[in-house]
Amino acid sequence: MAGEPVTDTPVKIQCVTFELNNETYGINVMQVQEVLREIEVAPVPGAPNYVIGIINLRGNVVSVIDARTRFGLASIERTGMSRIIVIEAHKQIIGVLVDSVAEVVDVKLDEIETAPNVGNDESSRYIDGVVSWRDKLLILVDLNKLLSEAEWGTISKI
């Protein structure tokens, strides 16, 4: 990926990569607002299990969801590597807790393959496609699907 000439035509997108349970995932950099390191998450009593709480993002209250729970993985304690990726989708701002955030990579659009229809339903639902990258698979996450449509619906009513 390094040293490739940048062309004007949108043949590639940039992705922020993050790890979950030793798998590498990517989300379109355009949807990422910022990545937060350590920040206190205030739990909300009675919230759905994948919502770990709310944070104070410079005066705005932002809900944070646990990507692990959302992807059907066992949730773990936060470590020093844990990050919250603040994303914007459907005009809503929300934080996603991930194991770690690595870097921003270029992904050629024509290299993206549709996701093999395997794996558990929970995680494959949110997957846009996969691309091979550094001998590994980079799983592209579709944020718009990360929350089921019904949930986005209730959110945008706010």
Binding site: A42, N56, I93
Partner: protein, 698 residues
């Protein structure tokens, strides 16, 4: 035809005409009480006219049609050529409903559906009946203009009338007058008499109406004079030609100008005006005047915006979203200030203290100032009630007078909107359940006419809205029996209720004492919803009622929704905020006042026992115990829906005004959580909804 107009113009139209519609609603009802009020008629006429103008610019044909017809009727009304009766009144109110409906459609981007043809017909009939009854009309749509040849030349040959020509025309007319011909309104002699103008007094005067009608006729006939020219011409003309022997350029009033334009815009319907000269026998008969509705949009726009130009702009229309933004920013500022105030203790420097105090004050002022920008007079909600009461009184055959006090009291815009529905419900209740029928009232020694009073007043940082009626009042016994009958409460607890407790029963879901369900009320869902809604606004509702004398409902809401006074409490390491409006008192928990009854913990306070709960066990996951630490915890007594409950917390931090931040994304609507806020130390505190909490956990 889809509505594909420039959004901005459409939006402007919707806003402006929407306001007019609101006014019309009120004015029409007022009109019923003073049908002779010329100003009122005039302003209703203008209202319809303005809507029509805007509508025709946007090609909302159906809207234009109905407004046009109403406007014509009002034109006759204000010229005293028609007398308002209640059938007409009903028709107008229906027109208003139709127009409102069309508006809704336009708002949703649909072309408005046509008004009920029967309604349009009845409007047209009103205009005709008048003319027929005066017995002057020989053929509708015929226009007879009294004048000489010169005038007729103008009429026939000129498409445009310039200043000069207009002057000439008037001069000719004037000469006509001087020589012999009097232009007088013979169309409706009764009217003329009503106006106290005898023909002789009029002999060489052209009255306003006549002048107007004359202009109407000329322009209706002429092949669409350019509006702009007419406008500039007319604006220089004398309003009342009567007062001047010589015709001097001066101004014609707005109304006249509008009515003139009206006819220009008119859909080719011949002006229903007939002039008969008493000397000059020359008639000009014009049949089928050319429809004139192909004017350039720019010209029309000028017309539409004309009324704006008249009143000098001292206001700026600001999008409420922008105000919300400002409000939010001020909220942030308040939080930042709170933080500084928290930190103040750590500074030794006197100057820092001073600076912080200063900031504190300015922030407070700013907060108030910004809050004021969002304030609107309560009139906004009250304005709809005359209509509501009138319609209901009619359908229920009751005689009701509505009094409104304190309409100018200001209230947060959001609150006004949020309160509208509950208030309508309560007013309907007063009319339906409260006020008795005239016969019953008479038998009870009251006047036939029931009075419903709406009052708004400010009390500190709260607004009190009350709806009172001098009706039958509520019978606590009936309520008590009802609640037992419906199985909503057992006999014991029902019999323990005092009068006030009984009245509060009407807020219970599923309770209606009305034996029959009408379309007005009686389903027993309303009051429960009203109460919930008002609670959501951090308000409260209170009932006072005396059997046979009437009922008063008082709603108490905070001035604004953006800032909430709360009591901050601590549970473990977390902070929670309880709305101060729920809190009754705080006291220490000790072994003496705690007891267990029937397996439930009860606390005794001031001789009353209340259930008590450990908030920690509800709100913190890691708490496995429901045991209180006696002597260390504090009890906050909260009152929700007539029951007081003790909530045990680890520590009471104190009172704090907080800015409510909605819980983001997926968390909205969680029971028991009203929102969140950022505390003075930058952390997040969750604002609890006490009622929701109790519903969920207790």
């Amino acid at each position: 035809m889809a509505i594909d107009f420039d959004d901005e113009i459409l939006q402007d139209f919707l806003v402006e005409a929407g306001e007019i519609l609101e006014q019309l609603n009120e004015q029409l009802v007022n009109l019923e009480y003073s049908p002779e009020n010329y100003d009122l008629l005039n302003s209703i006429f203008r209202g319809f006219h303005t809507i029509k103008g805007g509508g025709s610019f946007l090609h909302l044909t159906n809207l234009v049609e109905v407004c046009h017809q109403s406007e014509d009727v009002f034109n006759l009304l204000r010229n005293r050529e028609l007398i308002l009766d209640s059938a007409m009144m009903d028709a107008f109110l229906r027109v208003l409903d139709e127009v409102n409906k069309m508006f809704e459609e336009v708002r949703n981007g649909v072309d408005p559906t046509a008004a009920d043809p029967a309604l349009l017909l009845s409007l047209m009939n009103m205009q005709n009946i008048d003319l027929i009854s005066t017995g002057v009309v020989e053929a509708k749509n015929d226009v007879v203009i009294t004048s000489n040849d010169a005038v007729s030349d103008f009429v026939e040959s000129e498409g445009e009338i310039t200043d000069e020509e207009f002057e000439n025309l008037l001069n000719i007319l004037q000469k006509d007058n001087e020589s012999k011909s009097k232009i007088e309104d013979e169309k409706n002699p009764k009217l003329a008499a009503g106006n106290n103008k005898t023909p002789s007094a009029n002999s060489d005067e052209i009255s306003d109406d006549e002048f107007e009608a004359l202009l109407d006729d000329l322009h209706g006939v002429g092949a669409g004079p350019k509006n702009s020219i007419v406008k500039s011409t007319i604006s220089k003309k004398e309003t009342s030609l009567a007062s001047k022997p010589e015709i001097k350029a001066d101004e014609i009033s707005d109304d006249e100008f509008e009515s003139l334009l009206d006819h220009i815009h008119g859909k080719g319907k011949g002006p229903n005006v007939i002039r008969q000269p008493d000397s000059n026998q020359e008639f000009i008969q014009v049949n089928d005047p050319e429809p004139v509705h192909t004017l350039e949009p720019t010209v029309k726009h000028a017309v539409v915006s004309k009324p704006k130009a008249v009143q000098i702009e001292t206001t700026v229309r600001v999008d409420t979203a922008r105000l919300d933004d400002i409000m939010n920013l001020v909220g942030e500022l308040v939080l930042a200030r709170n933080r500084l105030i928290t930190l103040r203790g750590t500074f030794e420097d006197e100057r820092v203290h001073k600076a912080i105090s200063n900031l504190d004050m300015v922030t407070g002022d700013l907060q108030t100032a910004v809050m004021k920008t969002r304030m609107q007079p309560v009139k906004k909600v009250f304005g709809r009630f005359p209509r509501v009461v009138r319609d209901m009184a009619r359908s229920l055959n009751k005689e009701i007078e509505l009094e409104m006090k304190g309409e100018e009291t200001d209230l947060d815009k959001n609150l006004i909107e949020a309160l509208a529905d509950p208030l309508v419900h309560l007013v309907r209740n007063s009319v339906d359940h409260g006020i008795e029928s005239p016969e019953v009232r008479k038998a009870a020694g009251k006047s036939r006419v029931g009075i419903v009073t709406l009052t708004a007043q400010q009390e500190g940082d709260h607004i009190l809205l009350s709806i009172s009626d001098d009706g039958a009042g509520m019978d606590p016994e009936i309520l008590r029996n009802k609640v037992i009958e419906k199985g909503l409460m057992d006999v014991d607890s029902a019999s323990r209720l005092d009068n006030k407790g009984c009245f509060d029963l009407i807020f219970m879901p599923g309770l209606s004492t009305k034996k029959e369900i009408t379309d007005v009320s009686g389903r027993g869902v309303g009051m429960d919803v009203v109460k919930t809604k008002i609670n959501q606004l951090n308000g409260s509702i209170d009932i006072e009622s005396i059997l046979g004398e009437g009922t008063t409902l008082t709603i108490k809401v905070p001035l604004t929704l953006a800032i909430l006074p709360t009591l901050m409490v601590q549970l473990g390491t977390r902070k929670f905020a309880l709305p101060l409006s729920n809190v009754i008192e705080i006291f220490e928990l000790n072994a003496k006042n705690l007891s267990v009854v029937d397996g439930r913990k009860i606390v005794l306070n001031r001789g009353k026992s209340s259930p008590i709960f450990y908030l920690r066990s509800w709100l913190l996951k890691d708490t496995d115990t429901t045991e209180f630490e006696i002597n260390k915890s504090q009890v906050i007594m909260v009152k929700v829906a007539n029951t007081s409950v003790g909530l045990v917390v680890d520590r009471v931090i104190g009172q704090e005004e907080v800015v409510i931040k909605p819980l983001g994304a997926m968390l909205l609507g969680l029971p028991g959580m009203a929102g969140s806020t950022i505390t003075g130390d930058g952390n997040i505190a969750i604002i609890l909804d006490v009622q929701g909490l109790l519903k969920r956990f207790a």
